[in-house]
């Protein structure tokens, strides 16, 4: 279970998170939606200790991760995997080397076993014959799939997805969402997805949190969020130009 308690974070004079509270249910997929620039990625980076809050607490399985020494924090991070917005593949390594990297560094598997696992991981995300390609030779969708394969290889308990479908065409977007849904169901990990993809994300997530102006405005099932009468939530999910998000009156 991940809990964010009264999280505050500013960059210079710009306040990004303003007392954000969120409890992420274990073994389920939680989507965090909200307008761009509202701090969704910043929130995600707090969950895994890449950023430290100015105030508030981050609890993983009931224990705070703030102030931990690097070795202790790394022990907590063993539970996590993260799929970045731009995949964050190591650009001087091939696809094979990227996916094999966590296995080579963190396990004592033999070369044959690593080969077999990399092969399986790439096949599961629908990639074939890309082992020797470098990230800059792949399309956006392929990069995201490689990122997903790399993230899932060590069978994490929690997977954080930072806008996994941004910049992809609708078909690939749906394929990635389907992939996330299937892998979550198969491995049973806790997933947190930061996304703008309305309405696709409602099919993937068990819970949806609407983040606006640095706080969680509403949290509920996709049906509850879709049926919400809060003007900000309504405007965001309908994509209307008129409403509090544009006028700043919410």
């Amino acid at each position: 279970m991940i809990e964010l308690v009264n999280l505050h974070k500013s960059f210079g004079s710009q306040a990004v998170l303003n007392g954000l509270d969120l409890s992420v249910p274990t073994g389920k997929t939680t989507a965090v939606i909200g307008p761009s620039g509202e701090g969704k990625s910043v929130m995600l980076k707090h969950m895994i200790g890449l950023l430290t809050p100015d105030q508030g607490d981050v609890l993983v399985d009931g224990a705070s991760i703030l102030g931990l020494r690097r070795t202790e924090l790394n022990r907590v991070r063993e539970k996590f995997a993260m799929v970045f917005q731009n995949a964050a593949l190591f650009d001087s390594m091939t696809v094979y080397e990227n996916v094999a990297f966590p296995l080579e560094e963190k396990t004592s598997f033999s070369r044959d076993e690593i080969n077999a696992r990399v092969e399986t991981a790439l096949r599961e995300v629908g990639l074939k014959e890309v082992n020797r390609k470098y990230p800059d030779e792949l399309s956006g969708g392929m990069k995201k799939r490689v990122g997903l394969a790399r993230a899932l290889l060590l069978e994490p308990q929690i997977v954080l997805f930072d806008e996994p479908t941004t910049g992809l065409d609708p078909v690939i977007r749906r394929a990635i969402h389907q992939l996330i849904k299937e892998t979550q169901a198969k491995f049973g990990f806790t997933a947190v997805i930061v996304s703008h993809d309305i309405p696709d994300i409602f099919e993937v997530a068990h819970h949806v949190a609407m983040l606006y102006r640095g706080e969680i405005l509403q949290f509920g099932t996709p049906e509850e969020i879709q049926g919400s009468d809060h003007p900000v939530v309504r405007q965001f999910i309908t994509g209307s130009l008129d409403g509090p998000i544009n006028s700043g009156a919410a």
Partner: protein
């Protein structure tokens, strides 16, 4: 007036903050070097990049530096009828001063800038964050191998610089200007002491640390986007070059 004083205060504070961060980075790098020096394959890759691939530029620079020293030294010494001391002049200039400094400046231009650009690009494309999320220490994978490679390669390149420079001076002094070859090498053997060679190596070793330190630090804290990386790369080369020259002065005054 208060604006001016505030601006100075702000600048002073940010300067001190930067110095503190640089010091902290060096300590962390030293700690990581002892605790987790990185896999041999990563270190060898860096030795190839920082050391082997700098060889051509080092040999070229050394040859011409030695040749210029041969020319200048000959015309100066000829005024006193001491052309026989040309080998000593060339060797001492190279071993004590020019070899360590010029080889370090060449490595800074070729490899120091590339270290900053590489780590800077990894920073802005979240590759360093990706390492962190895999519970892997970026210092082990990115910083330690570069420190080890620079500390091994720069003194070796300096030694090559010295030897090639001495033969550059020999080519001009002995082959073109007619200095006695026996005098060129004989005087050199008599005048160059182990202490001179040792002081050159100590300098070179510390310059290796400076190149890796500033190169990695500037990349690790690169700003946003391509502009951030380009600014970090420029700052890295300038700061490393200045630090090498300043540190050279202090080290010379200690080692003399």
């Amino acid at each position: 007036m208060t604006h001016f004083i505030r601006a100075i205060g702000r600048y002073g504070l940010s300067f001190l903050e930067e110095l503190g961060r640089m010091g902290q980075f060096l300590l962390h790098a030293g700690y990581a070097l002892l605790r987790q020096p990185g896999r041999p394959v990563h270190v060898l890759k860096q030795i190839s990049f920082i050391g082997a691939k700098s060889l051509f530029v080092i040999v070229l620079t050394a040859a011409f530096t030695g040749m210029v020293l041969g020319l200048q030294g000959y015309y100066t010494l000829a005024k006193f009828g001491s052309e026989g001391l040309l080998g000593t002049a060339v060797a001492l200039s190279l071993i004590r001063e020019l070899g360590p400094v010029l080889s370090a400046l060449m490595v800074t231009g070729r490899a120091g800038s590339a270290i900053t650009a590489e780590i800077g690009i990894m920073r802005i494309s979240e590759q360093i964050d990706a390492l962190e999320t895999m519970a892997l220490d970026p210092f082990k994978y990115l910083v330690s191998p570069k420190f080890i490679a620079a500390m091994l390669s720069v003194p070796l390149l300096c030694a090559i610089f010295d030897v090639v420079g001495i033969y550059g001076g020999w080519l001009v002094g002995v082959k073109l200007l007619g200095v006695n070859p026996g005098a060129y090498f004989g005087e050199m053997y008599r005048s160059v002491l182990w202490k001179d060679i040792w002081s050159g190596m100590v300098k070179s070793y510390s310059f290796g640390v400076i190149i890796a330190w500033i190169g990695c630090y500037k990349g690790y804290y690169a700003g946003h986007g391509a502009e951030g990386v380009s600014k970090a790369t420029t700052e890295s080369v300038v700061l490393t070059s200045v630090l090498i020259l300043v540190w050279d002065y202090f080290l010379t005054s200690i080692l003399l």
